[in-house]
């Protein structure tokens, strides 16, 4: 049988929703920067 644990808190953060919010936050910032980049150079 596989031995990996299922009953396990993310490292570095207090809960998983915070990790997911960080990922979506980074995506939102990237898209905003891409928007500024597009506007500036077009």
């Amino acid at each position: 049988q596989n031995t990996n644990e299922v009953n396990d808190k993310p490292p570095f953060f207090s809960s998983w929703p915070k990790v997911y919010m960080l990922v979506m936050g980074v995506l939102a910032v990237l898209i905003f920067l891409f928007y500024l980049f597009t506007e500036h150079y077009s």
Partner: protein, 568 residues
């Protein structure tokens, strides 16, 4: 290529294979062979997921795509982080709780054996053919660039992968993917820096960005809502999410990567790493393509980037016409060079009217230049029947071979080979595992011991590897087979994703309802695809990308309707 380049290329490839075999030499059981011993760290999982998705075509086609159409393709990846979160929240905990080796095992627990077999069978057909393409697609380009025989290139890539994948399984695949990702990203970053350094004296990075922007190559995001627009913010956040859900959530070649984690947390974090890094990684690759485009605004580009095909046309009656076209292309280039320099000067004046008139002139000449390139392709098609006239896959490597210094050329070829190998390895590893777990162990021999299944897994992995090489070597005989295989993915994956979505989110729907719902949905997808080919789809006119969303929704709807009818 110089001797140093050959040493760099083969030194890198042989080191990676040897490292993979050495690091996995203690693989003695199925857990080690199919799940890397269940002790893989989150960052190694993240690298493994990224290396699996990054095939050779990623590095060959993507810069060419940016060269032709600009950066808009990146929007396709906006849906990836969303899909990663959905998989981390809903898919992963169930896979872990049930301690499955393959995603399809779960379907038997949730529904029944026939649903599991259906999904596993679709995976084997699609990925088995796909592994052949993963080898063939770069092979045809590399053999042309290096002057090698196509079949020998196929066998070389296939054999290198088979050596470590068969001997060490998932452990070998994960270990080699760490080094392959380092080679890939290191090589591309060096290439990116060198492209910028290669720009002529007096043309700074800012000038390069201005030229690219004014020529329409830096339109990264497009918020306009138009279904016909393949790459927009909206298609990335809707259709692409479904595509990534089916690829990362239900395709065993990806599922196997994150099921090898030490714990649920490690696997989740690996998925998040992929979600965070994928968009920036694609940005870098596309940006390199745009910089190559700028380089060729200051240096004469060839009218057609596939040298081998160009040499063939010189041997035909069209040779003189083609040379005339090349001269015309050169004179338009000189005209454009002056206009580009004028544009840079205008931008420095900050006068909007002057900038606009310079920009209009540059784009007008660029259109002329594109028309000559299109004419050259028509001529090649007439002169060399069966020649591939889409040369975008050759643009980046032609630049590398003609412009970059000795040693770096070998490194960039190692990047392409590494990408081909890392994707193929994951595919063979998953094909061998699924054949053993979902078919052999389930249907043929249920009472074997661990060592017996380990031997069979190695045997099946080897068989799939040999089959992939045979498919790759046959592909050149069937021109449209590649499109056919890609089409199989687009046609069948929506239904498989639909089955998984019902499994995870609609607990009241049972096996027969979802099985019939899946078959009905599949028939509708076939019908819509047929109508799209005929051009009579009406409101259902759509690109492949949208099949995923539609098929998935249809499975849910049909299953629900069947359940309601049965309950009555």
């Amino acid at each position: 290529m110089s001797t140093i380049d050959w040493i760099v290329l083969f030194g890198t490839l042989i080191s990676i294979v040897a490292y993979g075999v050495w690091k996995s030499k203690d693989t003695k059981d199925m857990d080690g062979y199919l799940r890397g011993g269940s002790d893989v760290k989150w960052w190694a999982i993240g690298l493994s997921i990224m290396a699996t998705q990054a095939s050779a075509i990623t590095f060959l086609s993507t810069p060419g795509q940016a060269f032709n159409d600009g950066m808009g393709f990146i929007q396709f990846y906006f849906g990836l982080p969303v899909a990663m979160i959905i998989i981390a929240v809903f898919f992963l905990p169930i896979y872990y709780k049930l301690k499955v080796y393959t995603a399809y095992e779960y379907l038997e627990t949730r529904f029944d054996m026939k649903t599991r077999m259906l999904a596993a069978f679709i995976f084997l057909v699609q990925r088995g053919l796909g592994a052949g393409i993963t080898i063939y697609a770069p092979s045809i380009i590399l053999s042309s660039l290096l002057g090698w025989d196509l079949k020998i290139t196929n066998v070389l890539i296939g054999t290198l992968v088979i050596i470590y994948t068969v001997s060490g399984g998932t452990k070998a695949v994960t270990q080699t993917q760490k080094t392959q990702m380092a080679v890939m990203m290191g090589g591309m970053i060096i290439a990116g820096i060198l492209v910028i350094v290669s720009l002529p004296t007096g043309v700074g990075f800012g000038d390069a960005l201005n030229v690219a922007g004014k020529m329409g190559k830096l339109d990264v995001v497009d918020f306009s809502f138009d279904l016909k627009n393949r790459y927009s913010f909206w298609s990335g956040m809707t259709g692409a999410v479904f595509l990534f859900l089916s690829y990362f959530g239900t395709d065993q070649s990806q599922v196997q990567r994150y099921l090898s984690g030490k714990s649920l947390s490690e696997s989740r974090l690996g998925l998040m790493m992929n979600g965070l890094l994928k968009v920036p990684m694609q940005f870098i690759i596309l940006f390199i393509g745009v910089m190559v485009f700028v380089y060729y605004q200051y240096n004469q580009p060839p009218v057609f980037f596939n040298e081998t095909v160009k040499e063939e046309i010189y041997e035909t009656d069209y040779a003189d016409d083609f040379r005339t076209l090349e001269l015309e292309y050169e004179s338009v280039f000189s005209e454009k060079l002056e206009a580009v320099n004028e544009l840079n000067r205008a931008i420095k004046t900050d006068d909007p009217l002057e900038i606009e008139s310079a920009q209009t002139l540059v784009n007008q000449i660029q259109t002329e230049s594109d028309e000559i390139r299109a004419e050259a392709k028509v001529m090649i098609e007439a002169a060399v029947p069966g020649a591939e006239i889409n040369d975008k896959d050759y643009i980046f490597m032609t630049f590398v071979m003609n412009v970059l210094p000795v040693g770096i050329i070998g490194l960039l070829f190692a990047v392409i080979f590494s990408a081909a190998m890392s994707s193929t390895a994951s595919e063979l590893n998953a094909l061998g595992g699924t054949t053993t777990i979902d078919f052999y162990k389930r249907k043929v021999k249920q009472d074997g011991d661990d060592l017996h299944y380990l031997k069979k897994s190695k045997l099946f992995t080897l068989a799939w590897g040999i089959l992939a090489i045979i498919i790759a070597s046959s592909l050149s005989l069937f021109e449209n087979l590649i499109q056919a295989v890609n089409l199989i993915g687009s046609l069948f994956y929506p239904t498989v994703l639909g089955i998984f979505i019902v499994a995870f989110f609609f607990k009241s729907i049972k096996s027969n309802a979802v099985f019939i719902g899946a078959i009905l949905s599949q028939l509708v997808i076939f019908l819509i695809h047929y109508l799209n080919i005929q051009g009579t789809a009406g409101v259902f006119t759509m690109g492949f990308l949208w099949y995923n969303a539609l098929g998935c929704i249809l499975v849910v709807l049909f299953s629900f309707m069947i359940k309601i009818v049965r309950d009555k």
